[in-house]
């Protein structure tokens, strides 16, 4: 056992370090910021600038084929880059869905001309993508979606007309393109009536409404479709095979949805070391130490599981179980640490004003943001079912939606 990089990995890590040191601010020197605020214009401009820099220096699309502007490297290099970038303040987030999920789906299903047209602008950050999947009636049960895709006429290459509503669409407000799954047939079983497309977010008939979250931020949107037209050439996969295409996208989501943000162990340890309780330093309090130890071993468990994944990737294998347990562990830890951090501040823990609250209100922000992490990208419950079924091989739940026409399934709305 060792933690040494291979020669190629060392060379790449050095290159990444050099690029980051020259172009980004190290977290050690930066002032802690409160929330990302990535729907603001200046944040968006900063993100675009950063993505273009990465592209020009050869750090965008690390695992994507070189003929489409990628770097054609193995997944381990992506992991190494992420490790290095984690030490710097960089405006990430805007491109994660596009490059992590949408473009990989395009690679699997789009035509050669489409790949040539869309890959590079996405990699350079000139075009932003979002993912139109979830619906009011199709969240955890994604295949229950009801947005309609109808043929305008019966010709083979006829346009599709989309009507319906999507929800929880991150970044829809500033996206240029999107991938979309919709129901093209209500008379066949649920999973067999879906068809997959990509489209311009500037298409007539699209209306975007921000959703204000518990935290006060609006990272998600509702997206309404009224007679939105999509050429048949922008269909990905066969008619009725949209579920299969969606699974390609979701497979990539398991790697794209990462670990929950700060406060993590380091921040709560920092807070505790600077807190005085009624009977002395907080760090001397047995209950406090007990909780700290719990979070440390979880954080390290994830970190060490990540080393095992890296080992597998480095040898050309597939990622281990880490990808399925990451979020389920870190989202709950994020919420627990946030609650505990406000407890440490006693009655003043209720105050969010960054001028007053400890560590610029980091823990108060966590209290209000963490519930979303336990839901987005697969709820705690869905992820446990995924582990149970796909990793442990346990039977699926009893299903009442596999047979018969989709339109006859009960909805609770009748």
């Amino acid at each position: 056992m060792d933690f040494a990089d291979t020669q190629d990995e060392t060379a790449f890590r050095e290159k990444a370090r050099g690029f980051l040191a020259e172009n980004a601010e190290n977290k050690a020197n930066a002032k802690r910021t409160n929330g990302t605020g990535w729907n603001k214009d200046e944040a968006l401009a900063a993100a675009q600038l950063w993505q273009a820099k990465k592209f020009d220096a050869g750090f965008a699309g690390l695992t994507m084929p070189t003929e489409y502007g990628g770097q054609g490297l193995s997944p381990i290099m992506q992991v190494i880059y992420h490790q290095e970038e984690a030490d710097y303040v960089t405006p990430r987030g805007v491109y994660e869905i596009g490059l992590g999920m949408c473009i990989p789906t395009m690679f699997a299903y789009a035509t050669e001309a489409q790949k040539q047209r869309f890959a590079k602008p996405a990699l350079r950050g000139e075009e932003i993508w979002c993912q139109l999947f979830s619906e009011p009636a199709g969240g955890s049960d994604l295949a229950g979606l009801r947005t309609r895709a109808e043929r305008d006429r019966n010709a083979d290459d006829a346009d599709w007309v989309i009507n319906g509503q999507k929800i929880w669409t991150s970044g829809a407000q500033f996206s240029d393109y999107a991938i979309l799954v919709a129901r093209s047939d209500f008379d066949v079983p649920k999973h067999k009536g879906l068809t997959f497309f990509f489209l311009s977010m500037k298409s007539p008939g699209i209306e975007i409404r921000p959703i204000k979250q518990v935290s006060g931020a609006a990272n998600f949107n509702e997206v309404y479709f009224t007679d939105v037209r999509i050429p048949d050439s922008q269909r990905l996969g066969a008619v009725g095979e949209g579920w299969k295409v969606s699974l390609t996208t979701l497979m990539n989501e398991r790697f794209a949805v990462g670990i929950a943000p700060a406060p993590d162990f380091e921040e709560v340890f920092d807070l505790v070391r600077n807190t005085e309780l009624e009977d002395g330093p907080a760090l001397d309090n047995a209950l406090v130490r007990d909780r700290l130890a719990d979070w440390y071993v979880r954080q390290q468990g994830l970190r060490n599981a990540h080393f095992r994944t890296m080992t597998a990737l480095s040898k050309g294998g597939t990622p281990g179980p880490e990808s399925s347990i990451n979020k389920v562990v870190s989202a709950v830890k994020y919420q627990d640490i946030s609650f505990f951090g406000t407890d440490m501040q006693e009655m003043a823990g209720i105050i969010t004003d960054p001028e007053i609250a400890a560590m610029d209100g980091l823990f108060q922000t966590g209290v209000l943001s963490s519930p979303g992490y336990r839901i987005a990208g697969g709820t705690d419950e869905i992820l446990r079912s995924i582990i149970a079924e796909r990793v442990l091989g346990l039977p699926q739940d009893v299903r009442l939606d596999k047979e018969g026409a989709f339109r006859d399934l009960p909805t609770g709305q009748d």
Binding site: M1, D2, F3, A4, D5, E9, I76, F269, R273, L283, A286, R289, D290, L292, A293, D294, Y296, V297, R298, Q300, G301, L302, R303, N304, A305, F307, R308, M310, T311, A312, S314, P321, E322, I325, V328, V329, E381, R384, S385, I387, A388, E389, V391, L392, L394, P395, Q396, D397, V398
Partner: protein, 372 residues
């Protein structure tokens, strides 16, 4: 990055698993549970012959010189099989203490017999139901004679030699040291005591002017270093046990039908099994880091060992109690094997000190690292 066991180590694991399936099945474990037999002598002899006991002991001292990573691999399999032997006492604690602090002469005279299994060692630390701290130790040594009472001492009734933690003289503020005492010699009285896990033995040792030989010069810090090393190895046993309990629960849930289908199909059961998996994988990952720190004598050993120990204790505790729960009433019967894992889980969780103290120790190690 190479954070997995290599091909040779994996081969050793497969061999060990096959051997233990054959030689240490539940029926063999139950012989120790249900009779007066303190351990399985036949199994112990074969561990010696196969070179398992001496896996981390250098060849010059009669070991097989494989290394600590190999010992971790073996430990995990012993945990899976609940092997009823004094492996932890004699190897994780005895041999590690001698290798860490023994003089050349002590290593030469003691390690070869440990490697063959001819001599069994144990650590005598606790003095009854209070935390084993340096301040609480009352056993003392003067003029090379040791007196006091130790309870419980794992394998103290069958061991040949004990490493006894005792104070140098009985004055206030005397510092603790480590002493080797021949348990077959004069001034030693030992009695077996009943415990939660009869597949492993526990004893009360009373010393009255027993001849004692100093081990190392450091005392308490040395004891903690030995415990760190043992904690990593024991954490592998715990992970092995946790994974086995999870597999038992899964197999039972797949075959047990209620309300017309396997109970493994109900979310209450599925999600609990998923939680067992999550905890076991986190603990396993922390154990790997501990194994790396142990095998390289890294400065991070104290943090890595406590991390591995705390998460492995938690994982085994959860898996072994929920295994009984998933088995329902049958899981609470003597006949089913669930209780063997439940007992062992509690035994290992207490063997090196409570979870509370290891968590405290982890934070202490982090404070030290932070101050450095």
């Amino acid at each position: 990055m190479n954070f997995e066991f290599n091909d040779d180590q994996r081969m050793l694991r497969d061999q060990a698993r096959r051997f233990l399936l054959d030689k240490s099945p539940p029926a063999v474990v139950r012989e120790t549970l249900e009779t007066d037999q303190a351990y399985d002598k036949d199994l112990w002899r074969q561990f010696g012959e196969m070179g398992w006991l001496g896996a981390a002991i250098p060849e010059v001292y009669g070991g097989s010189g494989l290394g600590h990573l190999e010992l971790c691999v073996i430990a995990e399999e012993l945990g899976r099989a609940l092997a009823p032997t004094p492996f932890a006492s004699s190897i994780y604690l005895g041999a590690e203490a001698l290798m860490t602090a023994g003089s050349e002469e002590q290593k030469q005279s003691y390690l070869p017999d440990i490697a063959t299994g001819a001599a069994i060692w144990c650590l005598a630390l606790s003095e009854g139901p209070r935390p084993a701290t340096e301040k609480n130790i009352t056993t003392s040594v003067s003029d090379g004679k040791l007196s006091g009472e130790k309870l419980p001492v794992a394998d103290g009734d069958i061991a040949d030699q004990a490493i006894v933690v005792a104070k140098d003289g009985s004055a206030d503020g005397a510092l603790a040291g480590l002493y080797i005492v021949d348990l077959n010699g004069a001034g030693v009285e030992r009695t077996t005591v009943d415990s939660v896990d009869p597949t492993r033995s526990q004893a009360r040792l009373v010393f009255r002017d027993a001849p004692a030989e100093k081990l190392g010069d450091e005392g308490w810090p040395l004891l903690e270093r030995i415990q760190d090393r043992a904690a990593v190895l024991m954490a592998f046993e715990q992970v092995g046990g946790a994974e086995m309990a999870m597999e038992m629960a899964k197999e039972y849930a797949m075959g047990r039908y209620a309300f017309g289908r396997p109970i493994a199909g109900y979310q209450a059961i599925k999600h609990r099994l998923a939680d067992m998996y999550i905890q076991t994988e986190l603990a396993r990952s922390n154990c790997y880091y501990g194994a790396w720190a142990l095998s390289t004598d890294a400065a991070e050993l104290a943090v890595a060992a406590a991390t591995a120990r705390v998460s492995a204790t938690e994982a085994y505790h959860f898996a072994s109690k929920e295994n009984i729960q998933i088995h329902g009433g049958m899981g609470f019967t003597w006949e089913f094997n669930c209780h063997l894992y439940y007992r062992r889980s509690r035994n290992l969780a207490l063997a090196l000190g409570s979870q509370r103290r290891w968590k405290d120790r982890l934070i202490r190690a982090l404070e030290r690292r932070n101050a450095a």
